[in-house]
């Protein structure tokens, strides 16, 4: 005769219920260490919202491909329609009037105005304006806007021209980018001592984790350089250039800093040969997806050109820079959270202003410690506003 115990033994938990319990326990076991890592990351000092920081944490912890894929879906679903009502005016940039642009009474070089793509041109379209109110006859930074795509006449690109003979470019590490360890990280903002000379600041390109490229900081290799990748380089003599890198993984003796980001988008004045998606672009939003994009180039005199606009593909960004006069260029950051160009209208980092009013981050972005690395443009010693 079976005992009461053995009779009850057969009333075991159904298989599916046990499988569910195992899955639940496994999920909890996975979430404990992941949660600790996430909470620690969120507790660190940062100046972006929780959502952005969470996405960045996911990217830094193996989720880059997932984030990029979701972004691709999102931006494809929210892609803008072609056409639309034409604009009647452009956003106001700079402080000088249109008449103070190139061709004024000075023998100093001024870049030619950007020829508008869409006719009739809007007032001030493509005309360079001074970024600072006290800038003399040789303003170190000029700004302009123009409609960059006839198929999308509502889109406005912002472009800045930076006189390399009067300014010096500095690479400023952020709080989290480049990642530790890094000697001489600095304050992750425009240093107080240098603010009287700062004329502009702008975003510094993809994080090393996602760019799969190199970085030389203060003459030392932080991340091995990669041949063929577009590189912003400052030499020890203060000269700045944007070049495809061909000097191997180490730091040449004459290089002070070099930041790499993706393949070149303009070479020899022509659009880059690799503007379509490919493995050399890494895990990022597809190149044909329209999103905030920014880029940096040099004109044929070695002056810097920065461009940014919403709803751009890699190719349309390259065309903006090419139209503005860039002969070599690279793409910097994409997405509204990372794209910033800020000019300072008064000495002492006074009255900071975004290049385009639609730029999401505040103009004071680089006057407080920032997550990401960035570039600061200072007047050279002896140069006056």
């Amino acid at each position: 005769m079976p005992s009461a115990r053995s009779g009850r033994r057969h009333q075991s938990i159904p298989f599916w219920r046990r499988a569910r319990r195992i899955l639940l326990l496994a999920a909890i076991a996975c979430l404990i260490p992941a949660g600790i890592s996430y909470v620690q990351a969120m507790g660190e000092k940062h100046n972006v919202g929780l959502g952005v920081r969470s996405v960045e944490w996911l990217r830094q912890n193996g989720g880059n491909s997932i984030v990029s894929q979701i972004e691709n879906w999102y931006y494809t679903l929210t892609a803008p329609a072609k056409g639309g009502s034409p604009l009647r005016s452009l956003p106001q940039v700079g402080v000088g009037s249109a008449g103070e642009g190139p061709g004024s009474r000075t023998r100093d070089y001024r870049p030619p105005n950007v020829k508008p793509l869409i006719q009739p041109a809007l007032p001030g379209e493509g005309v360079w304006k001074k970024a600072a109110s006290h800038a003399g006859p040789r303003p170190p930074v000029l700004l302009t806007t123009f409609r960059s795509d006839p198929e999308y006449p509502k889109f406005v690109a912002g472009v800045a021209w930076i006189d390399s003979s009067r300014t010096r470019l500095a690479y400023v590490p952020g709080l989290a980018e480049p990642p530790a360890p890094l000697a001489h990280r600095g304050p992750a903002e425009v240093p107080e001592a240098k603010r009287k000379r700062v004329v502009a600041t702008f975003n510094g390109g993809f994080p090393l984790e996602t760019s799969n490229a190199g970085l030389i900081y203060r003459g030392k290799v932080k991340e091995a350089m990669v041949n063929g990748v577009a590189t912003v380089v400052e030499y020890r003599d203060g000269r700045v250039d944007v070049v495809p890198w061909h000097q191997g993984p180490g730091a040449p003796a004459n290089v002070w800093f070099a930041k790499q980001n993706l393949p070149p988008i303009i070479e020899g004045g022509q659009l880059g040969a690799k503007l379509s998606d490919g493995p050399e672009w890494g895990e990022t939003v597809n190149n044909a997806v329209r999103v905030w994009r920014s880029g940096l180039g040099v004109d044929n005199r070695g002056n810097l050109l920065y461009a940014a606009a919403d709803f751009q593909t890699v190719e349309s960004l390259a065309r903006i820079l090419q139209r503005a006069g860039a002969v070599r260029a690279l793409e910097l950051d994409i997405n509204e959270d990372w794209t910033s160009f800020i000019s300072y209208r008064h000495p002492g980092a006074g009255e900071p202003a975004n290049l385009l009013p639609e730029m999401l981050r505040p103009p004071e972005r680089y006057l407080t410690p920032d997550e990401r690395d960035f570039f600061a443009v200072y007047l050279r010693p002896g140069q006056r506003w």
Partner: protein
């Protein structure tokens, strides 16, 4: 050495729970070893947890509603049978 087979339901339940916990830890360890990073693990584990919790909560709610209905039907039946 074999585990005793003739055990009470409480002991059997505890034994099953221990086995499930060990299997779950093994799955978690495997996930951490195979995934590209901790971000991927959380990306999969969090929705899994939420779905399972929602499932369990729904099941419990349905069970509770059924029990209440049965209980009220039983009470109603009792009252009717004792009605004068």
């Amino acid at each position: 050495m074999r585990l005793p087979r003739d055990i009470g339901p409480g002991a059997a339940a505890r034994r099953a729970l221990l086995a499930d916990v060990l299997i779950a830890l093994g799955i978690a360890l495997l996930a951490f070893l195979l995934a590209a990073g901790i971000g991927i693990v959380i990306f999969v584990a969090l929705p899994t947890l939420l779905v399972l919790l929602a499932w369990i909560a729904t099941e419990a709610a349905v069970r509770g509603v059924r029990r209440r209905r049965l209980s009220s039907a039983f009470k109603t039946g009792t009252r009717e049978s004792h009605a004068p």
